[in-house]
Symmetry: C3
Amino acid sequence: MKLSKIAEILNGTRYGDDVEIERVGSLEEKFENAVLYIEKKKFLDKALSLDPAALVVPMGMKTGEVPCIELDDPKLAFIKLLELFAPEGADYSGISKDAHVAEGAVIGKGAVIMPGAVIMRGVQIGEGSIIYPGCIIEQNVFIGSKSVLYSGAIVRERCVIGDECIIHSGAVLGSDGFGYYEKDGRVIKIPQIGIVKLGNRVEIGANCTIDRATVGATEIGDDTKLDNLVHVAHNVKIGKCCYIAALAGISGSVTVGNHVAIMGQVGIGDHLSIADGTIILGQSGIPNDIKKADIYIGTPIRQVREHHRINSALKYLPELLKRVRILEEKLKGDKS
Amino acid sequence: MKLSKIAEILNGTRYGDDVEIERVGSLEEKFENAVLYIEKKKFLDKALSLDPAALVVPMGMKTGEVPCIELDDPKLAFIKLLELFAPEGADYSGISKDAHVAEGAVIGKGAVIMPGAVIMRGVQIGEGSIIYPGCIIEQNVFIGSKSVLYSGAIVRERCVIGDECIIHSGAVLGSDGFGYYEKDGRVIKIPQIGIVKLGNRVEIGANCTIDRATVGATEIGDDTKLDNLVHVAHNVKIGKCCYIAALAGISGSVTVGNHVAIMGQVGIGDHLSIADGTIILGQSGIPNDIKKADIYIGTPIRQVREHHRINSALKYLPELLKRVRILEEKLKGDKS
Amino acid sequence: MKLSKIAEILNGTRYGDDVEIERVGSLEEKFENAVLYIEKKKFLDKALSLDPAALVVPMGMKTGEVPCIELDDPKLAFIKLLELFAPEGADYSGISKDAHVAEGAVIGKGAVIMPGAVIMRGVQIGEGSIIYPGCIIEQNVFIGSKSVLYSGAIVRERCVIGDECIIHSGAVLGSDGFGYYEKDGRVIKIPQIGIVKLGNRVEIGANCTIDRATVGATEIGDDTKLDNLVHVAHNVKIGKCCYIAALAGISGSVTVGNHVAIMGQVGIGDHLSIADGTIILGQSGIPNDIKKADIYIGTPIRQVREHHRINSALKYLPELLKRVRILEEKLKGDKS
């Protein structure tokens, strides 16, 4: 594709030769005939070292060394470039004869059910939704329109998925919550009769597990995104526009506000509440409610500044023990 | 269902109007026409604020404000109520023509094999067990009676599952243990020829991984329950009535006693032994045997009281460094 | 099998009776008629207590108490014994009529596609590779020769797997990287158009998730082995002969060198670089580049010796606070 064509699509201004672009690249590897984007001047040298065919740069940052496109938001342009150069997706349409679709399941117009998928009784799938191979959609599940379930995603009975959601491979929605009651030496399972309910534009990463509520619903709000291998226990309520990174675990009946960012391997204790806008850094452990938005870290968590102060002090601790002993002996000596 | 009928089923005493109950609720959300249960007086106000149709309460705690059922064990009553109001499960029976069942596999009376399941050669499935869609039961696996394998559970060759077990979606039983031997610069895989063996009434959460033993069996005892995304390595032996929460990892050849509770994201080092009755709190890391039942926490773990004492002291550490410096200077001053 | 035959296969020297051996055992359990191996004299008593039929021992360590085979490398002999006594694997061959293989997919000579597997358009599978039930191989995936994908492994579109790789059940290769861009209150997904690329003899554990790169490839080098439930984010580059244990999480664009060992539940922050030969112990958190090979532990990590010094000192911290207060009061008293 000619750079002039790309400039037109991105609505930017082209400088330099109208070169042929074959792909979008990144600063991490060398790609032939690639267009790169940079957001800041400091990345220019790195970018040029990769011998790009052209650069997409912020306004006023063009260089004479390679053809450039100047525009307001290079990152947004990068996203458009990725869409532009994305390889074709799976070319399947309609309902595969090698899928199992139960009688009476309602499949919306333009929806795709690929080979090896199982759609059980009473399922409703909205218009334009795409079900990849090996997905299991259990009885009476509702899926909105334009949602995509990648290979091997599992939605257990009666769960509800909104519009334009993405469920990645191997994710399980609607497994039983973890609840038991011991009585007279017997372990009795507490039935989990609720559901999982996702809002719109929710994304659930590969091999995540979202447990159904004991009663009512485990809920994840609009535009919230989960990375891979995240565990969400029963009766959790997660707000809108949250990001939850890989291997985080959210215990039963936790309430997470809106615009919360939870980094990898964080653990949140049960029945806690996390304030809107909170940021929790990686591997932190949350034993109490977070009532005030801030950046937290550690197990148990502290505000990030306090954590770093303590952590810096720790390396002096072994020596401090000796110094205090010396002081004690000196004072003893003084007394005697 | 009439409250009088419910009182009869629960074997409790009804007070107030014989109202119509449509569902069982919880203290976490408002439900229309719901019966709620409370275990303690302190939850009464919360319960009443949700405008319940009726309450199930311990003996002597009825209130005039809403119809009540008094009985000995409200939590047990709640479990019965959940069973009573549980929606119908999947209405499949027999062996689906869209399942693959190898010739010679033995399927017990009343067992259900749903569409898209694969049952390989030499498999035996006991009476009344239910295999959901997309489950893979590999060669020569034995499954007892009345066990349930939810959608997409995988049991690899020769593994053994007892009676009344529940295997949740995406769980993998019998993957290879992680063992290699480096010799002359080559990495040689140590064959893993053992199995996984579950007792009776074992529950394995969604997307758990239980590795087969190198030789012999990785074993999980009767009534032990695993939450989601738990990793159990090769040759581990877990006792009876244990609870292991999400994202915990148990390394190779660990022995866990009976009645042990392991919370979320705990890690246990290899070849260790954990005493009966031990409780390990979330995110703890276990580098040594635990010989005495207690409540442990931290990485490396300490008894919970000691951990909290240290943790409380930590916030004074940066200031302590300064205080000791002042003392040292004072003493130096005194000397000079 | 006669012990003499085993000695011949192992190329060792037999002493004592030519007993019949039925299985290979281990020091962890008692097995009837088993051959055990020991690497060091100190394990001899333990081994004898299990009443073995015979022992495999290093040169010069035979005992008169049971028949023995002496040889150079008992661990390597153990591996051969495991292969010798391994039960027969799945006896399937060719392409199952109950698999879905898209027209035009290229399946190499001697490759096996078991029932319930789905092979999509444009896939190439090399000679002798084995695809177990329920695997999904998406469009245009390339798999080399003699690789094995166990039940329910998922390889998403265009990913590349080398020769002699092993992908365990439920592993997902090629899920989207976790990338979003917020603009004017909207959350925009960054398309992930790259791939995952595995070298030769790579092993990926059960329920691992390996995300595709945004552009280019997430790469895992020859002979690197991942345990179960490991998360590898987009654009990560892992070198050769690494071992990564269960529940570890490697964030986006991390570079891991060769011969690196990462233990269970470790977390590595994004864009970091880990030097060749580094060892990171369990549950550690890595916030910065590791430039020098050493053994590290903790969150944030320290060299293992420093970590243990600090950790040993910590238990004196609460008392230290009191001791410093006493010193301060004494000094105040002295002054007054």
